[in-house]
């Protein structure tokens, strides 16, 4: 599944040369993209890319599929929107609050979810996400069917206005890049190695003395936190938090992003997010065709294309991504 980077002399995994180049490439793309495409569209890709990476932190390393990841994304987008609009938080505090909400929710539900494995884990995460959806439908502060609209973008630290799309883009790009580096670091830390040991042989990891459930729970909380960051960024950027963000359709979409990109790769989910959003844009005018095409792509991913786009390319070229 996930390939291993070179191990440095200190015995800790360091960033291999090819990965460093990939990060430089990513940095270049993020820097150039807003001049080539509509900045808000690129922001959308970055938000969903981060969201997909957070899902794959759990799926790729632990082999646990959360089919309810939208819960944390959506709840945090409500949190950020509410904090910015009603409490008048500046963007950085609104984002911080969003992450806090996701982490706390993830800590509670994660403790319950890690009690089941495999297919049951997927069902349980989905069921709890649906519970959060029903909660969001009824809770007074979410605005029900309307959602929270006209969320102010505000001024970063109270100083730098985010009104212009480019200023906003700069913030999103920096947060995105730092978050991706953090996710990369977690993935290739000793902690990440233990996760893959659990994925590959759980009884052995237990017999080696690892508290497996605690590791699973920690990853769950981390994944929820990064999903929350993505949701908060999305709410501030698009000035909207709505039921779509907590619905199971969103959970399915992010699974699709990971599958398309390749769940055994670190960078794959980013490509998946790009493709899914591009597809939605192209098909936006055709109503339910978006759903049909997404469903077909899902089936194709499972039946003929299980390694995903980046996974397949990397295999052909003998690269580790």
């Amino acid at each position: 599944m996930t390939t291993q980077p070179e191990i440095t002399a200190a015995g800790l995994p360091g960033m291999s040369a090819s990965h460093r180049n990939l990060f430089l490439l990513l940095l270049a793309i993020v820097a150039v993209a807003p001049f080539l495409a509509y900045p808000l569209l690129v922001i959308k890709v970055l938000c969903f890319g981060l969201f997909a990476l957070s899902l794959n932190l759990m799926l790729g390393n632990l082999g646990l599929l959360s089919f309810g990841h939208a819960a944390y994304f959506g709840l945090s987008s409500y949190a950020a929107a509410h904090a910015a609009k009603v409490w008048g938080f500046t963007p950085e505090f609104a984002l911080g609050f969003a992450v806090l909400v996701a982490v706390v929710t993830g800590a509670v539900f994660g403790a319950l979810c890690v009690r089941r494995q495999g297919i049951y884990f997927a069902m349980v995460t989905l069921a709890f996400a649906q519970m959060i959806y029903f909660f969001s439908l009824q809770a007074p502060f979410t605005g029900g069917e309307d959602g929270i609209q006209n969320v102010p973008r505000g001024a970063l630290f109270g100083l730098f206005s985010l009104q212009s799309d480019m200023a906003l883009y700069a913030l999103v790009a920096v947060v995105f890049f730092v978050a991706v580096l953090a996710l990369y670091r977690i993935t290739w830390s000793p902690f990440g190695q233990v996760l893959r040991a659990i994925r590959d042989n759980e009884p052995r990891a237990i017999s080696l003395g690892y508290r497996v459930d605690r590791y699973k729970w920690t990853v769950f909380v981390l994944a929820a936190g990064f999903a929350g960051l993505a949701g908060g960024l999305k709410a501030i950027s698009f000035q909207l938090a709505s039921l779509t963000d907590v619905y199971w359709g969103m959970s399915g979409e992010v699974v699709l992003m990971v599958m398309i990109g390749g769940m055994a790769t670190f960078f794959g989910p980013l490509i998946g997010a790009l493709l899914v959003i591009w597809m939605q844009n192209e098909l936006a005018a055709f109503g339910a065709w978006v759903t049909i095409v997404q469903g077909l792509v899902f089936m194709a991913c499972i039946l003929v294309f299980r390694k995903g786009l980046l996974g397949t390319i990397a295999d052909r070229l003998g690269l580790k991504v």
Partner: protein, 294 residues
């Protein structure tokens, strides 16, 4: 007459509505359990097949003037047949993979089916006219029992009972149970396990289709009708544990009842109560009420 300060009529009406929901939970989770037992696939498309059942009844009535009773037989059979074809052409390819792939594959399949119906019939509900025999109802003294609702409960209990009897008491059922436990060994005894798998999937989705036909006269028929329902059924399955057939049926009815009662005492919580119960069950009995402890 008041019970805990609630008028008896309100209470009994909600209990009845709860039982009807429970009837659907029971049939759907029964189908899921049978399919999972033999195929190791969590059939995410189950909600889509349920929706197809309701649309099937509607279309049969509109185009062929087929009455409800005939539809109750023909539509599930057709859907079952479709299920067999799907199993042969698609699902068969992924049995050697991780169970998660089956869930994702059927999720995609469900999206395609629901999307096609939405393209054709839009997202709004279509009405299905109640068959004459189910109009009216019975006055029980403390409440009015509509015939249509009584029929749903009776029909689902009957179907669940027959399914349970077939699986537990017949030769075919014993093959099925054997193949669930040890497929290779069962095959060595000369039983055609691949065929059994095909028929099981067909039967499982036919049950979903049957539930859909039952739902057509009492709920509005729309392409999304199965999508939210199936997630609640997943919670029901987690609560019951997928190990036992009778467990799936009992859990289904029980949770419908709990939901109905909650609606009386705390309406806002009625949509989430099942998930709360799931959380409690995960805490004290992770394998589910009727599941085998791992």
């Amino acid at each position: 007459m008041l019970i805990f300060g609630i008028p008896l009529q309100l209470l009994s009406t909600q209990i009845l509505l709860g039982l009807i929901n429970g009837a659907f939970y029971a049939i759907l989770s029964l189908g899921l359990a049978i399919i999972f037992g033999l195929l190791n696939i969590v059939n995410f498309a189950h909600g889509a097949f349920y929706m197809m059942g309701a649309f099937g009844a509607l279309l049969m009535l509109d185009h062929f003037a087929m009455n409800y009773w005939l539809a109750l037989l023909v539509v599930p059979l057709t859907i079952g047949l479709l299920g067999c074809v799907i199993e042969r052409l698609i699902l068969r390819r992924i049995y050697d993979l991780d169970h998660l792939y089956g869930m994702i594959l059927t999720f995609g399949m469900g999206l395609v089916i629901v999307g096609l119906f939405r393209n054709q019939y839009g997202a709004t509900g279509l009405p299905y006219s109640m068959p004459a025999a189910l109009q009216g109802g019975y006055n029980l003294g403390f409440m009015f029992l509509p015939a249509s609702r009584a029929f749903v409960i009776l029909a689902s209990v009957a179907v669940c009972l027959v399914t349970w009897l077939v699986i537990e008491k017949t030769r075919l059922g014993s093959w099925l149970r054997a193949a669930t436990e040890k497929p290779e060994l069962t095959e060595a005894f000369g039983i055609n396990v691949p065929l059994l798998i095909t028929l099981t999937y067909g039967f499982g989705v036919a049950l979903a289709g049957f539930a859909g036909v039952l739902a057509a006269p009492i709920y509005s028929v729309n392409p999304m009708m199965g999508s939210d329902l199936i997630i609640v059924v997943f919670a029901v399955v987690v609560i019951g544990g997928m190990g036992s057939i009778s467990g799936a049926i009992l859990t289904g009815f029980m949770l419908g009842l709990v939901e109905g009662v909650t609606k009386v005492f705390w309406p806002q919580a009625s949509t989430t109560v099942i998930f709360v119960i799931m959380a409690i069950v995960l805490l004290i009995r992770p394998a589910g009420l009727f599941g085998k402890q791992a």
